[in-house]
Amino acid sequence: MQLDEDQALIRKTLRGERRAFEELMRKYEKRIYGFVVRMVRNEETAVDLTQDFFIKIFTVLEKYNFEYKFSTWAYRICYNLVIDHIRKHQAQVSSLDDESVSPRDLLTSGNVVREDGFKALSRAETRDYVWRVVDQIPLKFRELILLRYIQDLKYEEIADITALPVGTVKNRIFKAKEILKQEMEKDGLLV
């Protein structure tokens, strides 16, 4: 059986090579932390959950089936861990109604309107703006946007991880994009 890079590291870890597991963590820590911190919106909690995730992965590594992609298996564990935490600790998840974290302060006056309707914020500013709006959309949309764009997963993989039908995943992602566009229009970023 041909093993990919992740699976080779897992084999080494299962043989007792600690450094292999460390390498696996280094490879995934940024994406996992990036996902978790945007889900829970608290850095300390995100650190704890990221560490809990890696420990969980280590303890259940023997159960990993080499026929499947490691990343999908790992993201499912990560997703379940984060969702469990949110259900237990964050019953009230703030959304776009929360004015205190509005991204409006990113907008500056006198921006020039471009042909595509976006004001001429720099590319980086637009990126920061959009991702700050993502942080504020309701969880059921945010989680799918994060899985799609941070974890770079296909609709089918997201459906597998979240246990939602593929159609629902697509619809929610479409809806999330509509919300993002509407928010930009509201903030005057689109005309």
Binding site: R18, F21, E22, M25, R26, E29, K30, R31, Y33, G34, V37, R38, E43, A46, V47, T50, Q51, D52, F54, I55, K56, F58, T59, E115, D116, G117, F118, T126, R127, D128, V130, W131, V134, I145, R148, Y149, I150, N171, F174, K177, E178, L180, K181, M184, L190
Partner: protein, 186 residues
């Protein structure tokens, strides 16, 4: 012709429409400036989302996980404890097996117990009882070993084998419990 829905525009940008729907959307976009602008906005949104702003995790994340998974100090401590316990066990066993105790420790305990009253006498009697029991068992074992293994070397080999078996049994008993404890701690 009615304007395209956001859903259609997003699907068109993603290339997930069927060939006929896609052709219709393309034709409409040629004629409708509003839809063209909306499609461009979704395209830009997609390109921005495809380059996520990732927060950097603090440097401590991985080292702390390694520390939790492979705690260095407890590992050394448990090895030291195991070596110490084995040494105590071995010395005690040799002491009892070769009957070094009969003229010294046991006699001393018996003499101490005489004329002593109260809880101290009770404790000493208890220790003596346990020690006598252990000595009787070891004598029986020694007799058995002498019968089966008449040479001193054979006796030593048997003793080492018994010790190794005891150690193996103890580690087999401890390993799943330690693993469970580690998982619970995590």
């Amino acid at each position: 012709m009615a304007c395209l829905s956001d859903e259609t525009l997003i699907a068109y940008n993603e290339g997930s429409l069927g060939p006929i729907e896609s052709a219709r959307a393309r034709d409409h976009l040629l004629l409708c400036a509003d839809c063209r602008r909306a499609a461009a906005a979704f395209r830009l949104l997609d390109s921005v989302l495809a380059q996520p702003v990732l927060h950097n995790p603090p440097d401590r994340v991985v080292p702390q996980v390694m520390q939790r998974l492979f705690p260095a100090l407890p590992r050394l401590t448990s090895i030291a404890a195991m070596v110490a316990a084995s040494a105590v066990f071995l010395i005690t066993w040799i002491y009892i097996y070769f009957d070094f105790s009969s003229s010294s420790l046991i006699q001393a305990l018996r003499l101490t117990t005489d004329g002593t009253s109260g809880w101290l006498a009770g404790i000493i009697k208890g220790i003596t009882l346990v020690y006598n029991g252990a000595q009787a068992a070891s004598k029986a074992l020694a007799a058995l070993l002498r019968m089966l293994l008449p040479t001193p070397l054979g006796t030593v080999v048997a003793a080492v084998a018994v010790l190794a078996l005891a150690g193996w049994l103890a580690s087999a008993w401890m390993r799943p419990r330690l693993k469970r404890a580690k998982a619970n701690r995590s």
